[in-house]
């Protein structure tokens, strides 16, 4: 770091109507540093960066790039000034190659493309920063981690010296995250300046030089990463102390509420994804199912909710008979609450208002109907009540669910499911993509369900989550349970199981077939 300020923002305001998204923001970026921009969903991080990138125009304040006051009107202005942004959602054309995507829209490439020469250019940058991307690969065949790098290459080849990365790790696996930051560090060493937008504290601690924390549109503070810690940052970000430590008391368990026997389920590719899994969940306990993504957990969850056909085996819920053919409705009325893995696709009807989403699954209940007609008042009251109870931040009961932030969307689902007072709660990846405040809230509700004597089945790839919430942990590997351990098992032990070491008899029996 040279200490030279490449970006200086002073007293920046940005309004949307009456809503102030950025209030009196001061921000600076030094040459060659990785600067974290931390904040909860809706804190104004992306807004601020979109001002810098020219997608929005600020209403007040000064923006300086390399000491010059600038007036950025559009992304093409900012690119000329050497600012490039890598968006959270990739903007790549899947059918084209890496090189074709990179030079798309760049007039420098000329009218007639000399693909060989362009590929050469990509390769040079590639080699310089150790990106390991084949210039002639077709995008859709590449893993997301590589696609992310293509996005970064795009920015680099447009000669940007200042890189804004908007939640770059949201869709990456842990090893891809590692690799990404090796490249980011390399870039910083070569004099690039990088802004990293995220709400993940561990990334901030591990990979940044300085960090600025935003809350409700204001900068709470900028600190050197080496002089702070996770607790301090959390408090700055959320505005209060938050603890995600394990704090559940041992308690006696009750009757078996969910029993799965020898379950076999196929994946979308029509091959067995769950290969003879059996387990029980009792009242008053949380069973956590851990495992690396793609080892059959999702299919297991879908089978239990009735969304996926069961090939063999049975499920019994709340003392019911053992069933093989089940529909979502059967499980719902038998007392299953379900927090699906994909809230936008499975959990919510995004164009529906909050109040309509809050009655999904209970729309036929007497409570919400008056004879032939829906009981508007009951539905409205119900929505108002749950919005207050679950602290759903919204404009009103009619606001479309699609307008809400991820955390609030998850709260809508949670409110709906918890309110139905199910005896069994199945939560699949319940905190994925949420900020720390929302994570604390969601986990709190799961703990509450357990304390109230519900049976909770938690399927998550987040090992910390599994370990802070579960009474027992089952590890899934390649379609079967590679082992079951207590919550206090060592990380090493769980890690071994996740890697498939210590196969149990089930697995051997399956493979013998």
């Amino acid at each position: 770091m040279s200490g030279k300020k490449v970006i200086k923002m002073q007293g920046v305001y940005k309004y949307f109507g009456n809503f102030c998204a950025n209030e009196n923001v001061d921000f600076d970026l030094e040459e060659g540093e990785v600067h974290g921009l931390l904040g909860e969903n809706g804190a104004g991080k992306s807004t601020l960066m979109n001002v810098l990138y020219g997608l929005y125009t600020h209403d007040q304040g000064i923006v300086k790039i390399n000491g010059q006051e600038v007036n950025i009107k559009s992304p093409s202005d900012s690119i000329k000034l050497g600012v490039g942004m890598v968006h959270q959602h990739f903007m790549l054309i899947p059918q084209l190659t890496v090189t074709q995507n990179i030079f798309l829209g760049m007039s420098e490439a000329g009218f007639i493309l000399n693909i060989k020469e362009l590929e050469q250019q990509v390769q040079e940058v590639n080699d310089k920063y150790g990106f390991n991307v084949h210039p002639d690969s077709v995008i859709w065949q590449l893993p997301v981690g590589i696609q992310q790098k293509v996005e970064i290459l795009k920015v680099l080849l447009r000669k940007a010296k200042i890189l804004i990365l908007d939640e770059p790790t949201a869709v990456l696996t842990p090893s891809e995250v590692e690799e990404l930051f090796v490249s980011v560090k390399k870039l910083a060493k070569q004099g690039y300046s990088i802004i990293l937008i995220t709400h993940k504290l561990d990334e901030i601690m591990a990979y940044t030089d300085r960090v600025s924390v935003l809350r409700t549109g204001k900068v709470i503070g900028t600190v050197a990463t080496s002089e702070t810690n996770i607790d301090e940052l959390t408090t700055m970000m959320v505005g209060r102390d938050v603890s995600l430590e394990r704090d559940i008391q041992e308690q006696a368990t009750g009757a078996v509420l969910l029993e799965v026997k020898d379950l076999v389920v196929k994946s979308d590719k029509d091959v067995p994804a769950v290969k003879g899994v059996s387990f029980q969940v009792r009242a008053g306990e949380i069973l956590g199912i851990a495992g690396v993504d793609g080892n059959g957990q999702l299919e297991l969850g879908e089978a239990i909710t009735g969304l996926r056909n069961i090939i063999k085996g049975t499920i019994s819920i709340n003392g019911s008979a053992e069933m093989t053919h089940i529909k979502p409705k059967t499980m719902l009325s038998a007392g299953l609450g379900h927090i699906p893995d994909d809230r936008q696709r499975k959990g919510l009807v995004l164009p529906f208002g909050i109040k309509e989403n809050l009655i999904m699954g209970s729309q036929r209940s007497k409570k919400y109907n008056k004879g032939f007609f829906v009981n508007k008042k009951a539905i409205n009251d119900h929505a108002a009540e749950l919005i207050a109870d679950f602290d759903i931040r919204c404009r009103g009961i009619d606001q479309p669910a699609g307008d809400l932030s991820g955390g609030n969307q998850q709260k809508v689902i949670l409110a709906r499911e918890v309110d139905r007072n199910p005896d069994i709660l199945l939560a699949i990846q319940p905190t994925r993509g949420l900020d720390i405040g929302a994570i604390e809230f969601v986990r709190g509700k799961l703990k509450e369900a357990r304390a109230n004597g519900k049976a909770v089945l938690l399927i998550s790839t987040d090992l910390d989550e599994i370990r802070t919430l579960s009474d027992r942990i089952a590890v899934m590997y390649n379609g079967y349970f590679s082992g079951e351990v207590s919550y206090d098992a060592s990380l090493n032990e769980i890690g071994m199981l996740m890697a498939g070491v210590n196969k149990n008899k089930n697995a051997e029996a399956w493979e013998g077939q």
């Binding site: 949307f16 998204a21 904040g39 909860e40 969903n41 809706g42 804190a43 104004g44 991080k45 992306s46 807004t47 979109n50 997608l55 929005y56 939640e167 937008i197 709400h199 909710t305 969304l307 529909k327 979502p328 409705k329 719902l332 009325s333 379900h338 699906p340 696709r345 499975k346 959990g347 919510l348 009807v349 995004l350 164009p351 529906f352 309509e356 009655i359 999904m360 699954g361 729309q363 036929r364 919400y368 109907n369 032939f372 007609f373 829906v374 508007k376 009619d398 699609g402 307008d403 809400l404 932030s405 991820g406």
Partner: protein, 350 residues
């Protein structure tokens, strides 16, 4: 107050689209050397000159109104029923059979029976594409389009074969019993009760969609079938039911056209009411109440086409251009509002 404003805005969009389309069509006429005031004057007069012409427009509106509600309802449930035309034709055929078979029944029995037969025929014809979509994922757009041709050929067969009135030169059926004719409601006009029934059905469908749990399920399936399924809604059954109701509405439209206007079956009984319905529904943003107004506009245009030709020598097909331009501007408005959504999402999420 806010809600009222939102509703007002919902009405403003198609209204503005129509006005812009009107201005553009006016310019087209002027540039092409036609007498625009005279042409549009004739169009206006054909609808509003006197009570008789007004009645004619409302009669033209009736079948469009029924097919319009049919399409709007299906679109709400994410079922793209392009087959309202065929369902209408089958409805008319069933009405013909009932009206020429049970000739001794009194009006108060025969008319309901005719309408019911239209509904059943339309629903039955829509069931097949609905079933294929729900159970086997066959695109209903393709099947319903193809089913239109089946219906058209079937009508051709009926009026040349089993239904043929041998006393006529043209292939057409015997007229239905006079007791099956829909009663005229305003003396001095040929306005039959079809239009009033259409309004009643529009209101009923609107109530079903927005005030009942069944409508909730239809809309949920329409927006996000996966979330609906996860929420315990029987998605496949809902889709089939949606298609049945849509087909029944189009079928009633056919029965009404037959028993109210033509009184006998002929191949050309529908000049494309089922296809016009798609535009009518889009213009009304798939809102059954809105369909009443957009169907009226399209009814007016089709009733006025010929008088426009007579008065100002503008080809009757010109109204098709008018309709097309309206749809273009409505589509632009729809795309623009999607664009706004995206921006507002951006500012919300981080």
């Amino acid at each position: 107050m806010n809600k009222f404003k939102e509703k007002l805005r919902g009405f403003a969009k198609p209204f503005i689209a129509i006005i812009i389309a009107f201005i553009i069509c006016w310019l087209i006429l002027v540039i092409s050397g036609y007498d625009a005031p005279k042409a549009f004057g004739a169009l206006w007069n054909s609808g509003f000159k006197n009570i008789k012409s007004f009645g004619t427009v409302l009669n033209k509106t009736s079948p469009i109104l029924f097919t319009g509600i049919a399409v709007a309802f299906a679109f709400r449930g994410n079922v793209f029923n392009i087959g309202a035309e065929g369902q209408l034709l089958l409805g008319a055929a069933a009405a013909t059979w009932v009206g020429t078979t049970f000739t001794s029944l009194p009006s108060y029995l025969l008319i309901p029976l005719i309408l019911l037969s239209g509904a059943i025929a339309g629903a039955a014809f829509a069931y097949i594409p609905g079933y294929l979509k729900a159970k086997h994922g066959v695109s209903e757009v393709i099947t319903t389009i193809m089913f239109n041709y089946i219906a058209l050929q079937f009508i051709g067969f009926l009026v040349r074969g089993p239904f043929k009135d041998t006393s006529q030169m043209e292939p057409q059926s015997h007229p239905i019993a006079a007791s099956g004719f829909l009663p005229y409601i305003i003396p001095g006009t040929k306005l039959h009760i079809g239009f009033v029934l259409g309004i009643v059905f529009a209101i009923i469908i609107s109530i079903i969609l927005f005030k009942t749990y069944f409508g909730y399920e239809v809309r949920a399936v329409g927006f996000n079938p996966m979330a609906a399924k996860t929420g315990g809604i029987a998605v496949e059954r809902t889709m089939i039911t949606t298609m049945l109701i849509s087909g029944a509405l189009a079928g009633i439209g056919g029965a009404i056209e037959l028993a109210g206007t033509t009184h006998y079956l002929l191949e050309g009984i529908s000049p494309g009411y089922g296809f016009t319905a798609i535009a009518v529904s889009i213009l009304a943003a798939n809102n059954p109440i809105g369909v009443i107004f957009s169907a009226f506009l399209f009814g007016l245009l089709s009733a006025g086409a010929t008088s426009m030709q007579r008065a100002a020598d503008v080809s009757a097909s010109f109204v098709n251009i008018f309709q097309g331009v309206i749809i273009i501007f409505i589509s632009i408005a729809a795309v623009k509002s999607v664009g706004h959504k995206k921006l507002s999402l951006k500012k919300g999420g981080n």
